[in-house]
């Protein structure tokens, strides 16, 4: 399995600030990996994802994508490699769902041209794959929050990047939609597309991730496989509450986390 993303000793601080938002971050991502980053609010998860998408420029270390240093890549080259869904999308104009998803094809469309039939077909196919094709003519401002998140997901899939960055993809979804979304993500990861997601729910790690990083105060306290990293001790360290990690019985065969105080 090829390494898709390599991060070596990365750090970032805002211009004029004295403190790093995060530092000494190193890890790599291969085909079929789903890395879930857990950590309290303000620990630097979102900033880290933005740096990997080169929306912010790291102030130390390096980020290697497809054997290139990301700082030297052009926007459309980065977009072909890295797809990013922000935590919050603020819609302005009521584009149709299909128009919104077509924007995922930007990196493949020249500055002075418009989406081709092929681009449109890729987007239709992605909408069908996610079972939201029936929405394609609806204004994407006029559908439910869960449906909109699927539209954003369709957009990033239409981008055909080699890595996905998902910033709290489930934060605005109801209980059912969270799990539906994670199942789809799991299937897509299983087909080979590696992804990094952030979450506030340790349970999500056991649902989709094969790698997990525990982040606190701008540093990875631990990174590794879920069984070893999502422990009662680590969860207490980052969230400051006692949590019981339980093993469910054989037909579900998964761990869950239950706060106990």
């Amino acid at each position: 399995m090829g390494i898709k993303l390599e991060i070596n000793n990365a750090s970032f601080r805002y211009f004029g600030s004295q403190d790093d938002v995060f530092n000494e971050i190193s890890f790599s991502l291969s085909d079929g990996d789903n890395l879930c980053i857990l950590g309290p609010n303000g620990c630097g998860k979102t900033t880290l994802l933005k740096c990997i998408a080169n929306l912010l420029t790291i102030t130390g270390g390096e980020i290697i994508v497809d054997n290139h240093n990301i700082g030297q890549m052009k926007r459309h080259e980065i977009a072909k490699n890295i797809g990013y869904i922000p935590q919050l999308h603020a819609p302005t104009f009521p584009y149709t769902v299909l128009d919104a998803v077509l924007m995922g094809r930007t990196a493949y469309i020249g500055l002075m041209s418009t989406p081709s039939e092929k681009d449109i077909e890729i987007c239709r196919e992605t909408l069908r794959q996610l079972n939201i094709y029936h929405l394609h003519e609806r204004p994407y401002t006029n559908i439910s929050g869960g449906e909109r998140q699927m539209v954003m997901f369709a957009r990033v899939l239409a981008q055909k990047s080699s890595i996905l960055l998902l910033d709290e993809p489930t934060s605005h979804l109801d209980f059912g939609n969270q799990n539906r979304f994670l199942n789809i993500l799991k299937e897509i990861t299983k087909n080979g597309l590696p992804s990094i997601m952030t979450s506030h729910f340790p349970d999500h790690v056991f649902l989709v991730a094969n790698k997990v990083a525990i982040m606190n105060d701008g540093k990875f306290l631990a990174i590794g496989i879920p069984d070893e990293v999502v422990t009662e001790e680590n969860l207490y360290n980052i969230y400051g509450i006692k949590v019981k990690v339980l093993q469910l019985d054989s037909d579900i065969n998964r761990k869950i986390c239950v706060p106990i105080d």
Binding site: F15, K50, A53, N54, L55, K74, R75, H76, I78, A79, K80, I82, G83, Y84, P86, H89, A90, T92, F93, P94, Y95, T96, D99, M103, G104, T106, A107, I109, L111, M112, S113, T114, P115, R128, Q129, L130, N131, Y133, H134, H136, E137, P139, T141, N142, R155, Q159, I184, E187
Partner: protein, 354 residues
Amino acid sequence: MTTRKDTKCKEDLKKPVSFWKKTPTITLSLFISLIILFVISFWLGRYGISPAQVTQIFLSKIFPITPTWPDIMETVIFDIRLPRILAAILIGAALATAGASFQGLFRNPLVSPQILGVTSGAGFGAALAIVISGNPAVIQISAFGVAILAVVISWLISSRVRGNPTLTLVLAGMAIGALFSALTSLMQYMADPEDELPEIVFWLMGSLNSIYMKDLITVAVIILVGITVLMLIRWRINVLSMGEEEAKALGVNTTQLRAIIIVCASLITAAAVSISGMIGWVGLVMPHIGRMLVGPCNKKLLPVSALLGGIYMLIIDNICRTALSVEIPIGILTAIVGVPFFLYLIRKGKQGWV
């Protein structure tokens, strides 16, 4: 993955595709309307020329027809009506295209081409030239020059501020616009109330009176080039309207794209107002009417807005030059006719608004 909704997909495929299918028809009808209006506009005016005579005069330029009409008719048609009609179409199209582009760039449907201080700059440039020189060519050049200067200053200020580039640009533009408006008032205060002051006031109210072919040509070239570039990049404006960060993540060089839009939209607005004077409303409202017709996607919206702008300005200017025995300033009529029509549309159609 699952097949639960597959049957629903098939049903949906049979349904008529609303905006996608409707757009070519709407665009074509607008284009035909513009052509018809263009022809009719030659028949209108204080100097009566019948449609048949207009046709004959035009044909005489191609075929050897012996003139049965006085020379003055030819002068009225080619030297007065033709430049004025072309100017109305170009200015309307320019303002509407610039408005739609700026609305996408600034992610706000309340934005008008004035956002970066272009028209305030033009107003001051014109007022200054009226006081200092009074020569029409100097007034036009000065209006254009100061309009561009206003945008350049807004841009320079915003590029020196850290933070959201779109927001700083809007703030700088508002400040520069306010400054040039104040300077225009200063020029009005200092102007000779006998002749200069009325001229400044008339200029600010806007008029397509006294536009000659030679003035129009440079302006037409700037407007056509600017509109062409905006039309070529129009789909990308959609992506930019998703916001700076998302547009970057989708693969857009936002700094470059923003620069292209600002340069083109400012140039065409400045060129338009330099010959017409202040004309508000068109750049703000035509894109809205366009969105009601074809939806918000700029691929369809920009051409439709341009056509709507041309049609609207031509209608308004025809009213300006024929309704009363004196010429009505066009800046006044664009709003007086446009506002009730616009309010009616807001009430009637919700599509594309939200």
